[in-house]
């Protein structure tokens, strides 16, 4: 287990996503200031659209699950579990992330 400081809170965009590169992995970070926790990290690769785009999707909730919608084909991925709501076969990795003293820290 290793902890990496990725960026600062000011680098994030409220209610939207950004992308980070950690150990050759693309990770989508979503900052939702009204939620607890306030920050979520999942893989940036869209397994259905097959491109690195999830950080550019729209966030919201479906049946009270926090989700991001793929900007390519609009499937929803759960920000906490990585499950795809429309397709059991596909999912994305989820990473442990926290916001401490204005720093975004990822645990790998």
């Amino acid at each position: 287990m290793s902890q990496v400081t990725i960026c600062e809170q000011k680098d994030l965009v409220a209610n939207s996503g950004v992308c980070a590169m950690v150990d050759g992995r693309q990770i989508a970070l979503f900052y939702l200031p009204e939620e607890t926790p306030q920050i979520y990290a999942i893989g940036n690769w869209d397994p259905i659209g097959k491109a690195n785009v999830l950080s550019r999707g729209m966030v919201g909730d479906i049946n009270e699950r926090l989700v991001v919608a793929s900007p390519l084909y609009k499937q929803h991925f759960d920000l906490q579990t990585g499950e795809c709501l429309e397709d059991d076969e596909h999912g994305v990795p989820v990473y442990s992330v926290e916001l401490t003293a204005n720093k975004v820290i990822l645990t790998l």
Binding site: N15, M21, Q26, G60, D61, A69, P71, L72
Partner: protein, 841 residues
Amino acid sequence: MLKVVVVGNGMVGHHYVEQLTASSVEAHITVIGGETRPAYDRVHLSEYFAGRTPEDLALTTREHYVEIGVDAHFGDPVAKIDRDSKTVITENGRSFAYDKLVLATGSYPFVPPVPGNDQDPCVVYRTIDDLGNIKAQADNAKVGVVVGGGLLGLEAANAVQNLGLQTHVVEFAPGLMGVQLDAGGSGMLRRKIEALGVKVHTSKATEVIESTEGADSRLLMKFADGGSLATDMIVFSAGIRPYDQLARDADIKVGERGGIEVDYHCKTSDSDIFAIGECALFGGRIFGLVAPGYRMAEAAVSQLTNDKQSFQGADMSTKLKLLGVDVGSIGDAHGQEEGSIAYTFSDERIDVYKRLIVSADGKKLLGAVLVGDCSDYDTLLQYYLNGIDLPADPETLILPYNAGEAPALGAAALPATATICSCHNVTKGDIVDAMDAGFYSLGDIKGETKASTGCGGCAALLKNIVDDQLETRGLEVDKSICEHFAYTRQELFHLIKVGSIKTFDELLEKHGKGRGCDICKPAAGSILASLWNDYVLDEKHVGLQDTNDTFLANMQKNGTYSVVPRVAGGEITPDKLIVLGEVAKKYNLYTKITGGQRIDLFGARVQHLPAIWKELVEAGFETGHAYGKALRTVKSCVGSTWCRYGVQDSVAMALYIENRYKGLRAPHKFKSAVSGCTRECAEAQSKDFGVIATENGWNLFVGGNGGMKPRHAELFATDLDDETLIKYIDRFLMFYVRTADRLQRTSVWMSNLEGGLEYLQQVVIEDSLGIAAELDAQMDNIVGTYQCEWKTTIENPERMKRFEQFVNADAEDDQIVFVQERGQPRPATEEERIKLLAETA
């Protein structure tokens, strides 16, 4: 196989072919049409002069007949029927054998036997070829006379007026439309059309038509009363005569005054020969309307199946617009039934006339006349056709609402047999059946039953029935936009506007629940933009935008973007073309010309977007909003500046329109085009709104669409000056923005709009809702606050952060791989990508 020969390819003959091919009958069908073109819509013939082409009026094509296995021949009329050998022989000597023969030969225009009626400037009004003649004669004419003040005569007068001629109507009888209207109604109609600039001459018998070539006008009509009228052309449209010569020559029984006699099965005196439509005489009557013709065609087809239907005559009630005046006539308009009672309402202030003919006991409606306002027509027709008991005070049915509550006829009161749509013969029962089968939305029911897809006159009644049925079934159609808002887009628009709501969070707090999603967020973002026109990437709105709107470019399948600068009207300088080429080369972009006359640059990585825009903006380009639910392009032809045929400067108008509406956020994308003449090279009639130049100004079309569900735009207004054109487009667009559903194009919106085109005209042109000033002000505000989103973005370093590929590294997305094809880059396929990445690793 049964050989069926159909002689005549008018609307009714074509309907017969359609019905027969759709039936269970196995038949080899031969169609022989006397005209050179396949069937077309004769009812809307006068629209030819308002910009409709023969292709628009066509009901079918030669190719379609080939596809459905029909052997069709045009331009070689049948000359003879040989009943002994059961063959027909054409003028060119070709012969066709039949087992069953169907005569759908129609009728020809009656030309009064007046000396001088055979001169060149004397024409008739019946076929598309006739229209060509009329246009040719009108080219050098100032004055045109229509002989005939009936339904067809007034249609012809409309055509002549559309050609810009001073128009006269000469009628032998004392009043206009004597068959359908009583004296009062006829008088009101005359007042109204004279107010439109058409001069009406009644009780005039023409004795001679003299040639006055060389004088100011070409012809002089002399009347029996000693009067005369100078004119340049005459259109005879004084009624029709059945074309029954073929039957006469073959000794098939015809009526004393013409018409091929038929029985309930539309069979003639020869049981292998049928006659349908205007050539047929049933019960001593010719039925000169298209709906009864269709019923005859259906009855004749059914004789070849087990389901033998009969033709029982037809109701000749009619509702139409003549020269823009609403006219309706139901049943016994003249009150000929003994003891009948008449109620009349006339208001010369607004030029409305209404008359009811009621049975002696006051219980049943026998007839009605409506001029200037046909809003009561549907209700009255249902009372008449279904013999429904009238209310105790029948006059309330035609009196203005403020004189007492008009008892609207509830949809529930109609029997299942009540005909709702007479164009397609759809009963209330058919609609109920469709709903039993699970079709609940108006659009689905129209698609399933065809109801209200002809003239559209029954749209309001159809909706009442559907609503009533939904209520009876205890069904409420859930129109919620998503789980976060229990409202339609239209309702959300209203809430945002009335509550002056400025952000999504505020909207969610006041009217929604949860956190929102990718359905409601962009919808709310679009409404906020339509109303307040803030910068779409402002902090409070950025989370509402789809990736395309967020990055002001269109995401492609590999996660890169395409960039489309605005090229208004498709006009671009050589210098700007060079800039596009240079930018594309520098950033390794694939270039393609779009259907909207601009250039799309594909394959831009997200981190390169700001630099690309910067170069484009510096060269004078702005965003083309290809990513937005907003105006895309206004396509144009070169117009009168270059083209030998152009009559207006279509490029200048396209530029003006594109620059006016660029950036306007709407429920969906919308497109436009401007053509410089009726050749329509810009394809304006396939656009959300299209403009076509005329000699006198511009014709405006609305609600067209290409793509997956093509829809022909509808002619909205004609011969507009620049200012009026823009005013109407402003209001049309703003009304659409306000009332359409999420992701509903104007074409679908118009199909679902209760009252259709006519309602839209009332709102936009006559301001029937009293909102025109508000729509105008709202559009002015949007136009006045336009900003190029690319420019605003590149000027703001904070915003630029969003365009970094990674927040923590200066690197590229290595999964984006291109290969070369035809001299340009394209995204690698998955296989290619894996292979290429393995090679580099």
